[in-house]
Amino acid sequence: MFNNFFHRMASPKHFYRLAGILIPWLAVPCLLLTLAGLYYGLVKAPPDYQQGDSYRIMFIHVPAAWMSMFIYVVMAGAGAIGLIWRIKLAEMVAISSAPIGASFTFLALVTGSIWGKPMWGTWWVWDARLTSELILLFLYLGVIALNNAIDDKRMAARAVAILALVGVINIPIIHYSVEWWNTLHQGPTVTKFDKPSIHLSMLIPLLLMAVAFKLYYAFVVLMRARCEVLDRERNSGWVKELAEKT
């Protein structure tokens, strides 16, 4: 019974339909949480006693940085599943994740840079945290470029999965970089083992935005994966039928 369930789930046609139903159910909560997060982050939370209002960049910067790593792990995991079990759907999720992950990495870098200018007095320093995050961006761009360079979709998926898996080594480096090396970048405040050293009024919008970004990734990756399905299954009957109706 379980086998049957997984096979149906992984069938492109079934996935396409199911994803179409799921997308609005993810997008609407995402929008609501974003609005709540913006309200609590920009209006309700008090200014920081050291950084004034500039710290509000954190509500974009930190969730974006978390997503940049989370999506990478999902992409590499999906790539591995595609590589081992040859599940087409996993390949599609892996490749659909790359541009979204690249976007969040770009956002983490840019907002960090904009935040760094008034706080550190510089847009950029070549320290471990910033450099390893920049490498993450190049890994994403490498995945996208490699996928585009190989015409055969299944072959491309295998190559991409291997590149993504090798790049996983960068994830713990990003995470621990602020502890292993001296840096301008501040240490973790939320994921510390004892109590988080952040006030509740700032933690709430941060977590709201973090969940909103997770939901955003979920529905955007489904949107992209649906396009992948259409592209790969363009010769199957149900796709032609669907295309003729539009």
């Binding site: 541009p99 955007v220 949107m223 363009r234 003729e244």
Partner: protein
Amino acid sequence: MNLEEFFNMGGYAVYVWSSYGIALLVLLVNIIAPLRQRKKLLHGIAATARRRARRNA
């Protein structure tokens, strides 16, 4: 807090609002891109099907 204070962001307006603006832009582009791609794919597939049907007729 009044509206002017809100937009001024304690003197950090340029930094805060440009961060939020860029984020909004990037997130919107990521939604629009697959919407457009889907439309393009479906149109392309339909056009190919029509061409084939004509050739076989």
